[in-house]
Amino acid sequence: MDKQKDIAKSIRRASIKKNWAMFKQSKLGMIGIYIVGFFLFLSLLQPFLFVTGIWNKGIYDPVVGYSEQFQDFLVVDCPKEYPTEKYKSRTDCPARNEINIRTLFYSDAQVGETIYQNLQPAPPSKKHILGTDPLGRDVFSQIMEGSQVAFILGLLSATLGVGISTLLGTIAAFYGGRVDAYLMRQSDLILMLPTLPLLFIISAFSELKVWHLAVVLGTIGGLGGSVITIKSQALQVKVKPFVDSARITGGSRMNILFSHVLPNVAPLALLFMVFSVTGAIASESVLSFLGLLNIDMSWGLMIYLAQVEGYIFSGMKFWWLILPAGLSVTFLAGGFYLVGRGLDEVFNPRLRKR
């Protein structure tokens, strides 16, 4: 029987190789994998840097770190109307090395003097690759923390959602009749609900932490439209001869459901899972941006802070507060989508180019 195990192992290896070769053929899928891989690397990099001591937690912690950068500032009085000969528009005053006298509360400095102040938020420098945020925290560290949050949130909610919808869809297909009718109506109802406003309402009633949000997103997603699609796939499997064969042999309905139908619906479910991660990441950033989530740090939260402190309207002056976070959301969500596209080509032979 050992020979069997060897053969089984080598077969598994060969089929993994083959699937990987097929996946590699899809350019979109490969781009997606690189993107996702890059962010995965980022999320693992941060704890690594802390554990090995390369980064001092006091300075670089994304939530409670604090970094000081002092420099000389020229005190100016920003005019009320623009353009003037020194400044082209409102955003140009104060310039990088200047400070508006109106923002000085704890100093007696006068216009024209220089004072030694802490630069917050600090632009990218050797010490902080992406600069610091208004509270002196390293932005790059925040991006990595946000990456961890995105992955956990995305995968958790996707797994939960797909688990629910696969189970419900298969049950609907298999038992038909009233069970099916009920599940389809439920699905329609949930499809109808606007997700974001629903999330707003939920956040009003209870405090949403990361895993709360994951459960909520997962449940709503799982009970919604994907049930219908999985059901149709399960229906297709149900009429295949091997299911008939199991019925003739005398298998019970439960047995057939779990050991025959479910495993054949799984590839489609996997596909859904990857796509729903996209939605989860996007939802989180919207909610954080609106300040509705109780999370310590995430990409959406970074943009929220930037907006609350007024930096969003500064144009490109404080780009490191907005661009990295925004681009990360876009790229990671898009990356998962592309991986899904690549997987689609592996699972759906008709899309393959050869």
Binding site: I7, I11, K240, I248, T249
Partner: protein
């Protein structure tokens, strides 16, 4: 004198079809419209007909996949040594009874679960009916793989269906079907999707196993030549009814019903020098038989064991 394994009387399977807007009009499709036949132990019956004639529906009804609309189907019950109707079986009894009926499907690519390996596929019937212990079951799988020609068995047991060819997959289907030693196997065109050179090996395998295990086949096919090779008797189906039934050689040398004659005369012969006679529809012989059918039987016996249907086919042929 052989006992009958199976007796079918007036089997009917109707489907309701709704058409029109809002599914207002419901019409009935008589897929199987009253057929009767017997299958003795260890003998095989071929059910021949063109697509849509009802042969697959009959197969599904007899293998208890879809419930019949009406008619009686009696199987021989070994415990009571008498014929028993399948309607009387329920629950646990029905499950035990299912050991005796199996089906081999046409499509080798869709009749095995692509996610299971060969060992599990063949094990499944043993697991469902709790036969023996795990070691016994694995040994049985090993033995049957040898019997169907998939040697060495260790090479095949861990593999998945997509790694096997069509012919090999059908052998797996046969192994799985026969591991329970059923008495009755319905074969739904098991070789029509296989290459010609492999068909005979599969058919020979089935014939040998039938002899060794005393299995009766209901062999469904559209190919009369294949039915000739596999079956002792042939029933020709048309439009939901059996139009003629007789022993194989008798049917081929002495067909009586116009449909059978037309069917036989349309089959191409693998011999360029053979002159095939085109058959012109001629109802005179059938009319004669119907006229002599004073008892109004649905099937008239024209010779011993050779029956011809007496219903009117003039409009539909």
């Amino acid at each position: 004198m052989k006992n009958n394994l199976l007796e079918v009387r007036n089997l009917e399977k109707y489907f309701e079809v709704s058409s029109g807007i809002f599914s207002r009009n419901k019409s009935i499709v008589k897929a199987v419209d009253g057929i009767s036949f017997d299958i003795p132990f260890g003998s095989s019956l071929g059910l021949v007909g063109q697509s849509g004639c009802g042969k697959t529906t009959t197969a599904r009804a007899l293998s208890l996949l879809d419930p019949k609309t009406s008619g009686t189907v009696n199987f021989y019950n070994e415990e009571t040594s008498s014929m028993q109707s399948i309607d009387e079986l329920e629950g646990e009894e029905l499950r035990k009874f299912r050991r005796n009926i199996q089906m081999i499907f046409q499509d080798p690519y869709e009749s095995l679960n692509p996610r299971w390996n060969i060992k599990d596929i063949i094990l499944e019937p043993l697991n469902i009916h709790n036969i023996g212990n795990l070691k016994d079951r694995e040994e049985a799988v090993y033995e049957i793989l040898k019997t169907v020609g998939l040697t060495p068995p260790e090479n095949y047991m861990p593999r998945y269906p997509h790694e096997l060819s069509g012919g090999q997959r059908q052998r797996v289907s046969i192994a799985r079907t026969l591991i329970m030693k059923p008495k009755f196997v319905v074969c739904d065109e098991p070789t029509s999707m296989l290459d010609v050179s492999i068909r005979i090996s599969i058919m020979d395998l089935m014939l040998n196993l039938a002899k060794d295990l005393e299995v009766s086949y209901l062999y469904i096919t559209h190919d009369l030549a294949v039915a000739r090779y596999m079956c002792d008797r042939i029933a020709v189906m048309f439009n939901g009814k059996i139009v003629e039934i007789a022993e194989t050689e008798e049917l081929l040398s002495n067909p009586i019903h116009p449909y059978t004659k037309r069917l036989i005369s349309s089959i191409p012969i693998p011999d360029p020098s053979y002159k095939r006679e085109r058959y012109e529809l001629d109802f005179s012989e059938l009319d004669n038989i119907i006229a002599n059918n004073s008892d109004e039987l649905p099937m008239a016996e024209v010779k011993s064991g050779h029956y011809v249907a007496t219903h009117d086919v003039k409009g539909i042929l």
